[in-house]
């Protein structure tokens, strides 16, 4: 915790571009290298908005405060620059890209990380992809499917994890990756995340979830509770357990008062 944070969010106010209303009303968050922070909160409280502002979604704008990643001003960077710098977001609702295979997509993503004129070694790539799919218990044919096109909810989430495992980010923002997964798939996803953290103990994770269940597989250092665009409580894993038992009513009341 004494390390300087990999992700530092300070007083962040943000909303939908071209709309006055703030969705995030002053968020502070500091994530150290190798830490796992969970974010919980009721529907519509601004969790995905926070994730998208970190990833650089053009539909949202930051209107106050700052977001730094490894000491750099993240808000000044294009989404692709953020990704190449090591930010990865697993989407709550991943987009479909008809006609583009997962393998081709990932190859292009890795190629984008190389200098001009440098060519990705296709043999190495194939090996990495196969190894990652094996880690996640996926059939080799999965990589030939078109990105999210006609995927079930669970397949989309697995695809997000596969991409994360191939791209090896420094910061993974996972937006409800555990929602809609069956018990086996949840374990596969958790195993994937934990294996990546073992490989790279510096990898930090911001895990947005509604369920305590996933936190028994991916154990957080800190749990934050977001209500109406603000972090209203931060604490250890016990916070999630309390939420599971009591719900958000107390926070809502306290917040409204």
């Amino acid at each position: 915790m004494s390390d300087s944070p990999i992700l530092a969010v300070k007083g962040l106010r943000a909303g939908v571009a071209d709309e006055d209303l703030d969705i995030l009303k002053g968020v502070d968050l500091a994530l150290g290298p190798g830490e796992v922070h969970a974010i919980m909160g009721p529907n519509g409280s601004g969790k995905s908005t926070l994730a998208k502002v970190i990833a650089g979604h053009p539909g949202y704008e930051a209107r106050g405060g700052s977001v730094e990643f490894g000491g750099e001003d993240l808000l000044e960077m294009e989404p692709d620059e953020r990704a190449r710098a090591g930010v990865f977001m697993a989407f709550q609702y991943p987009a479909e890209i008809p006609g583009v295979s997962i393998a081709n997509f990932l190859r292009t993503a890795l190629q984008s990380r190389l200098e001009d004129g440098e060519e990705l070694d296709l043999f190495d790539f194939q090996e990495l992809l196969m190894e990652r799919m094996e880690l996640l218990g996926m059939d080799a044919s999965f990589a030939e499917r078109h990105v999210n096109d006609g995927f079930s909810g669970g397949e989309k989430k697995r695809n997000e994890i596969l991409q994360m495992a191939v791209l090896k980010p420094a910061l993974a923002v996972m937006d409800e990756t555990d929602s809609g997964l069956d018990i086996d798939a949840l374990q596969v996803v958790a195993r994937g995340v934990n294996a990546l953290r073992e490989e790279n103990p510096e990898m930090s994770v911001l895990l947005i979830t509604h369920y305590q269940r996933v936190l028994s597989h991916i154990v957080p250092d800190t749990v934050h509770v977001v209500v109406d665009g603000r972090i209203v409580e931060s604490g250890g894993p016990e916070v999630a357990l309390e939420l599971e038992a009591q719900g958000y009513e107390e926070y809502r009341k306290a917040h409204a008062a």
């Binding site: 990833a55 650089g56 979604h57 053009p58 539909g59 294009e78 989404p79 692709d80 953020r82 990704a83 190449r84 990865f88 977001m89 989407f91 991943p94 987009a95 479909e96 890209i97 008809p98 006609g99 583009v100 081709n104 997509f105 990932l106 292009t108 993503a109 984008s112 990380r113 078109h146 991409q163 791209l167």
Partner: protein
């Protein structure tokens, strides 16, 4: 460079083109020229030419009929395009409207397959040419440009596959136009006899030109009972090129006659494709793919004529348009009286990549039978912002992300194509073009 005196498009040019022809062909040219003279130039007042103003786009008075190419073999660019091809059963090279070389696999030749310069086949009286050239498929009476082609064609391809002969590898035509301001008139005649099989790829390339340069093509394809035929046109001319083609496919009982039109190059392209389903059990898959940028203009006018009952046709044309490019698709399914049990489908999808690009899509149905299954659909859409963000969030630069979306969009057409090697070649050509956008 050899250059005759200027002739322009005129009767002398018709006589010259037919100078060494047999009498029947000279007569046919004369007749076609008469028809040409009697027909007005298509105007934008007609429904079929509303979006392509040929009168303005083609300087008829300045075009010079091409006189054939140098015999020194194909130029570098054409050779490079040819080297990308997988092995073929036959190969014919045409430069400036003249066939300069013909090669046919020995085994195919031994089975009676004929691959020849059309001009030589006509002069030598090869069986089938006189009866099928500009008669049942693309006769002069079809329109202004079919008439002009029938009068002025200088060469092309005659491909004949005898009954029961199945040629597994592709036969390829590689065409090169080198001279600015010329008009090249080419004909392709393919006859696949009963239960035979053939696939034919027609690729045209050219350098960029300062003045409008016309490549006019008439394509006539016959698939007899139970035959399987594929025709692919790859249009990769340089800027200034105007590609104008009339294609007609005649599919008899239980035959398969599939086509793919790819338009990537040239300044303008207009393709009129008429697929005729003449016998029960006939099937035509009709694929099209176009990708325009700058001020490129592509116009496709297709028709699916179900003359016989219980035949099927399925059309899918997809285009991406960038810059100030324009795409026009006009398609009609015609189910003739008595063509019960028809299955006919038609889909045109466009992806618009810039605010200056325009796509026009006009699907149509004319149905005179009652027991039919028909559908048509058209879409014009923009790049999906969420998809782009998704790709960029994985580290792809905007251009690379756009490229991938376009390739994926167009790839649906290629994935439907069974022909080995063509899909690779086309996706490479599209990728090369995308890198310049």
């Amino acid at each position: 460079m050899r250059r005759g005196t200027r002739r322009g498009i005129c009767r002398e040019a018709v006589l010259e083109a037919g100078a060494a022809d047999p009498a029947w062909l000279r007569a046919r040219r004369e007749e076609a020229w008469e028809i040409y003279g009697a027909m007005p130039l298509p105007s934008t007042r007609s429904e079929e030419w509303r979006y392509t103003d040929v009168g303005r786009m083609l300087p008829f008075d300045e075009l010079e009929p091409a006189e054939g190419g140098a015999a020194s073999g194909p130029p570098g660019e054409l050779r490079r395009a040819m080297e990308q091809d997988r092995e073929s059963a036959g190969r014919i090279v045409d430069v400036d409207g003249r066939v300069v070389s013909v090669e046919l696999d020995g085994a195919a030749a031994a089975q009676g397959v004929v691959l020849s310069s059309l001009r030589e086949a006509a002069r030598a009286g090869v069986h089938g040419v006189e009866s099928l050239l500009a008669t049942d498929a693309v006769p002069a009476s079809d329109g202004k440009f079919p008439a002009l082609n029938a009068a002025l064609w200088t060469d092309g391809v005659f491909l004949y596959v005898p009954r029961g002969v199945r040629v597994d590898r592709t036969v390829r035509l590689s065409r090169w136009v080198s001279r600015p301001g010329t008009a090249t008139f080419t004909r392709i005649l393919v006859v696949a006899e009963e239960a035979s099989r053939i696939s034919f790829v027609d690729e045209i390339l050219s350098p960029g030109f300062d003045s409008v340069t016309l490549a006019n093509t008439a394509v006539e394809i016959f698939s007899r009972r139970g035959a399987q035929v594929q025709y692919v046109s790859l249009q990769r001319m340089g800027r200034g090129g105007f590609y104008l083609a009339n294609q007609r496919t005649l599919a008899e009982r239980d035959s398969t006659l599939d086509t793919l039109n790819v338009a990537l190059g040239g300044s303008a392209g207009r393709v009129d494709l008429n697929a005729r389903l003449l016998g029960p059990g006939a099937n035509s898959d009709m694929l099209g793919l176009y990708f325009g940028d700058a001020d490129q203009h592509f116009d496709f006018n297709t028709s699916q004529d179900h003359v016989a009952p219980n035949a099927r046709s399925d059309l899918l044309y997809k285009g991406a348009l960038d810059g100030a490019a324009r795409g026009v698709f006009r398609g009609v399914i015609r189910v003739h009286e008595g063509a019960q049990g028809t299955d006919a489908y038609q889909t045109n999808r466009n992806l618009i990549l810039s605010d200056r690009a325009v796509a026009t899509s006009l699907p149509n149905l004319e149905i005179e039978a009652d027991d039919v299954r028909c559908s048509h659909g058209a879409t014009v859409g923009q790049l999906d912002a969420e998809a782009l963000f998704y790709l960029m969030s994985r580290g792809l630069e905007r251009e690379r992300a756009e490229r991938l979306v376009v390739l994926g969009f167009l790839g649906e057409v290629l994935s439907r194509l069974p022909l080995g090697g063509v899909a690779d070649k086309v996706s490479r050509a599209i990728e090369a073009k995308l890198r310049h956008v």
